[in-house]
């Protein structure tokens, strides 16, 4: 599988990153098999979070067995120093490792959060102390929200190594500032910041729970995904062609194998074909930012 520089971190990530939230929906044995499948396809970057149910614990056994092969990303939604430190220690404990390669501010949505994180008692201070102690490697940030806020964060956090944000044809087709992740990509490229793309496979928001109860959704995703091999491949190729360092796999385990297949076969996408996908999605409703909470 193709690898790309993850910004200036010195790590070369595979063009697909495994979103380990998928493990939450599997029993331990199935989780082990999924991690083996992911590694067998050559993936070297795995992303997890304490908010993904049991995913950290279920990742643990195979992670420890293959620790040297995996660049491990984790994150916290805590915004203050003590909370972030506590959650980091808990993640290390649940994962059963002594080092996380990329520790990220999870789900930045509001300007006030950025104020808090960057303050004296903010989460970033805890990140930096942990980095000095060797508990974490690089510092990153994830957001499903306003691209301008991500740009602000890039301005204010000097040691930001990566950003994670949504990118798909539906989002790319929106010409307004609320969806201008292209600007984030450009800035990241200029500043040597690695980029992780999420929601690459989003088709749209789920119908309301009145129309379709959560229990009846066919996929354990925050959004309604595309789900045929051809669509998955198109969406992967599109996301990977935009210049992202890596594309994160979707949350439902049923879709992961198809995405890995697409990633293994990825060899670029013609610009005219990229425009075709954007044009096709131009009048679709964006799944961003309606479903922010990931």
């Amino acid at each position: 599988m193709e690898t790309r520089d993850l910004g200036s971190t010195g790590h070369e990530s595979t063009v697909a990153t495994f979103g380990a939230i998928a493990l939450n929906w599997l029993e331990q044995e199935g989780a082990n098999q999924m991690v083996e499948l992911v590694l067998d396809r050559g993936v070297n970057h795995v992303d997890v979070a304490p908010t993904y149910g049991d995913a950290e614990r279920k990742l643990g056994p195979k992670l420890r067995q293959h620790r040297e092969e995996i660049y491990l990303g984790c994150k916290t939604q805590e915004r203050d120093y003590d909370g972030a430190r506590r959650k980091l220690e808990r993640s290390l404990d649940r994962l059963g490792v002594d080092h996380i390669d990329l520790y990220q501010v999870h789900g930045l949505e509001y300007e006030a959060e950025l104020e808090e994180i960057t303050g004296d008692d903010g989460a970033l201070a805890a990140f930096r102390d942990a980095k000095e102690e060797g508990l974490i490697g690089d510092i990153g940030l994830t957001s499903h929200g306003n691209p301008q806020l991500i740009l602000d964060a890039m301005d204010r956090i000097d040691d930001l190594a990566t950003v994670m944000f949504p990118l798909n044809p539906v989002v790319a087709a929106k010409g307004d500032d609320d969806h201008d992740y292209e600007a984030v990509l450009e800035r990241a490229e200029e500043e040597g910041i690695g980029t992780l793309g999420i929601k690459a496979f989003a088709k749209g928001s789920w119908p309301s729970t009145e129309e379709l109860p959560e229990a009846d959704r066919p996929y354990a995703n925050w959004y309604e995904p595309v789900d045929t091999p051809d669509e998955i491949r198109e969406r992967f190729d599109f996301a990977a062609s935009q210049g992202l360092s890596t594309v994160v796999t979707p949350g439902d385990p049923k879709l992961v194998a198809m995405v890995l297949d697409a990633a293994t076969r990825y060899d670029g996408m013609a610009e005219s074909e990229q425009r075709s996908l954007v044009e096709e999605a131009r009048h679709d409703d964006s799944p961003v930012p309606e479903q922010l909470h990931h």
Binding site: G175, S272, R275, S276, E279, E280, H283
Partner: protein
């Protein structure tokens, strides 16, 4: 203003900043929006359709619109929508520096091609850029061909001329070369072309509007309407064919 990528891609290598431009066949104003966003000094959006004229105007009008604003996307004062026939454009000779015909020629019948090419050449200043963005004929196995054929049949019955003609890029290139233009570049804008449900429904709507001219009890009318519904449902959506972008230049 939401500008399709086909438009931004077509405009990106042309000198739009500060230019006097003409959008030939304004439709809903996609190219007009692109030209204004790219910093055109003035855009004449020409259309013979009152609804399109109103839509084009509406698109560049924002709730906070102010003609004095510096925001190039909100400069309504730089736009003139002209409700006119492209065979008789109400502009003087040598008046414009950039002309766009974005998705225009597929709705121009062959009989009108020469008159439009002559008129566009008349209003073009020496050195003018012409952008012709249109569709290659859809491939033989494309299901949308049947819907387009039906649309043409209905238009032929109602108006005496086809609704759609897909001219290959080479054909339009040769047409304008005959009027003294030279082809600068030829690029693919969409491959494949997404014919979405809403596109297909719009084409079916053309069939419905044209058969209104037929007698209410006509069997042909019922057959055409039924066929339109069947095709829209059967095709659903399809990605097929190519949209090209041709850039031409009038000698200095």
């Amino acid at each position: 203003m939401d500008v399709p990528r086909t438009v931004t891609t077509a405009l990106e290598d042309r000198p739009i900043e500060g230019a006097v431009c003409l959008e030939a066949g304004a439709g809903v104003g996609n190219a007009t929006a692109g030209l204004l966003a790219s910093g055109a000094a003035r855009v004449y959006a020409v259309t013979d359709d009152r609804t399109h004229a109103e839509t084009a105007l509406e698109r560049v009008r924002s709730p906070t619109d102010d003609d004095d604003t510096d925001d190039p996307r909100r400069a309504r004062g730089r736009l003139a929508v002209l409700e006119a026939d492209l065979r008789a454009i109400p502009l003087p000779d040598d008046a414009v520096e950039v002309i766009t015909a974005h998705g225009l020629f597929n709705v121009v019948p062959p009989a009108d091609l020469d008159a439009i090419a002559r008129e566009l050449t008349r209003v073009a200043a020496p050195g003018c850029h012409l952008l012709v963005d249109d569709y290659e004929p859809p491939p033989d196995d494309a299901a949308v061909r049947d819907l387009f054929a039906l649309e043409n049949a209905a238009a032929q019955l109602a108006d005496g001329e086809p609704m759609l003609t897909f001219y290959p890029a080479d054909a339009l290139g040769r047409l304008f070369t005959g009027y003294g233009w030279t082809v600068d570049r030829h690029r693919t804008l969409l491959d494949p072309v997404p014919w979405t449900e809403s596109h297909l429904e719009a084409h079916a709507e053309v069939v419905r509007s044209r058969v209104d001219a037929l007698p209410a009890e006509s069997e042909l009318r019922a057959a055409l309407l039924g066929r339109a519904d069947t095709l829209v449902e059967a095709i659903g959506s399809e990605s097929a064919g190519e949209m090209y972008g041709l850039a031409l230049r009038r000698p200095e």
